[in-house]
């Protein structure tokens, strides 16, 4: 069974060939190439990975991601982004990026329904409804890391589109307004409360067979260093609620290369779930991603 890192980012220096937006931890001269990632993967016996677009939502800004996918088609799949300006009619953008390219889905940071949970709900009015509708039509994956205000709204769309494969990012945590910052290693940090709202929103999505959970992002949420013992109980809970066949391990490269290190994260599941059964371990470390995201056979 191949071992698959189900989430991370690569990017090139800003050039005419590979245009992208620059940010605080992605300055124009920084590059985190796919070849560098492959070196880390080889060192930890990781075979394949999901590359999640970073650096802009336009088709042109996906150039480096598309380059990586076409260069190593049996090693990587991709997740794209959609500009908010295209949410109302996203079909052309989604098709251009996903038709035969290796991009198998799209990441969303919002849902776009009524913010008041007591308001009447009609999913057809949600800002991202056309995206879900097109994902259903084209069998695309939706990759969700949505703002806290929208956490409860995911369920309405999951309920409306049982045929859409959904991946909940980073332990189901939905970042709260004003809770993000960057640490001394340039890594995203999100302040979270211990009794987390996710317990009653995204974690409840285990009810739906078309939803999987990604075990990643610990470095951004934990108050403790690796192996993040304050979040170990979450893994145990997920194993009981989602089951290993709907859990995927990921590192969120490149943010973790320096701290705690790719090799350490490759051992995280063994640290946090020491009593896990071998077949469950294999599922979390690659089997689920291979089946749910349809990774190709290695050549």
């Amino acid at each position: 069974m191949p071992r698959i890192d189900a989430h991370g980012h690569v990017f090139a220096k800003v050039t005419r060939e590979f245009p992208r937006e620059a940010g605080g931890n992605t300055p124009p001269e920084r590059e985190e190439t796919v070849e560098k990632l492959m070196t880390y993967m080889a060192g930890s016996n990781i075979d394949q990975a999901m590359l999640v677009q970073i650096g802009g939502t336009s088709v042109a800004q996906h150039a480096y991601l598309l380059h990586c996918l076409s260069t190593y088609p049996d090693r990587f799949l991709g997740i794209g982004l959609i500009p908010e300006s295209a949410y109302g009619a996203p079909e052309e953008h989604m098709d251009r990026l996903s038709d035969g390219t290796g991009i198998v889905g799209f990441r969303l940071g919002m849902v776009g329904g009524p913010p008041d949970p007591f308001d009447a709900v009609d999913v057809r009015t949600f800002a991202t409804y056309p995206i879900w509708r097109h994902a259903a039509k084209k069998d695309l994956v939706l990759w969700l890391y949505v703002r806290a205000a929208d956490a409860h709204l995911i369920a309405w769309l999951v309920d409306a589109f049982p045929q859409v494969r959904v991946v909940i990012n980073h332990l189901g945590i939905c970042p709260g307004l004003g809770k993000g910052r960057t640490d001394r290693w340039g890594r995203p940090q999100i302040d979270i409360v211990p009794y987390n709202p996710a317990f009653h929103t995204t974690h409840r999505l285990s009810t739906y067979e078309n939803v999987t959970m990604k075990l990643s992002g610990h470095y951004a949420f934990s108050k403790k260093p690796y192996p993040y013992p304050d979040l170990a109980g979450w893994h145990k809970h997920f194993l009981g609620s989602f089951g290993a066949d709907r859990l995927m391990w990921a590192t969120d490269f490149p943010w973790i290369y320096e701290e705690p290190g790719y090799d350490k994260l490759a051992g995280l599941i063994g640290e946090t779930l020491p009593d896990i059964k071998p077949h469950e371990y294999e599922a979390i470390m690659g089997g689920t991603a291979r089946r749910f995201l349809r990774f190709p056979d290695l050549k």
């Binding site: 949970p117 007591f118 709260g176 999100i190 009653h200």
Partner: protein, 240 residues
Amino acid sequence: MTVVSGPTPAEWKQWEEQGYLVFENAIGGEMLDRLQQAFDHWAAACKAEWLDKIARGELAATYYDIPNVLEKDEVFIDILDQPRYFEYVRAFTGDDMIFIGEQVRTAPLWPMGYTGWHPDVPPDHPLHIKVQVYVNDVERGGGEFAYVPGSHRPGAGPYPRVKNLEAMPGHKRFPGGAGTAIMFNTYGWHVAMENHTGIPRKSIILTYEKRTPGKIDPGRYAHLAPWLNTPDRLRLFGMS
């Protein structure tokens, strides 16, 4: 202190074997009117703060608890020792109980329940009793409380992690009118069922526990002293 009234032998038996009791019309008349008015008033008054905390990732949107209710209206203290059920709390704790918390809760409509089946505390925890009081009518399929009778008993289970709440073996559902109170031993497995009625469920969940030394800080509720005007209330709040 003398027990004025309380469980009949049959009710004792049900409590011990099944882990729950139901009190229809436990709250009624003027008391229920006061409760409903205070509930709606403070739910509206505090809603903006709740929505803000949802956006900041501090609270869930799938249930709404009015914060710090004891300081907001005396009716939220009066409900703690309503004799219809409080005499049972007294009896089951050996007349030695403390107040743990009060959740004044509205559950908005959502495609599923906001929690799965669960016990609150393990059986080696001091006896932990909840009383859930419906503030509006809660019909079957309206987010009503449900319990697995007997699941509080030592050696009961194991119970499956069911994705469909209705698939829990042996569970019993408790629809009821406004003012109905359901008392249960929280060692037992319970849940709020899904709500398909279109009407958000309003209820108040009172939590009591068998007193253990050091559990309650006498100073914690000192600011409420003017309203803790009976020996029972002072004891509940650890002030005597």
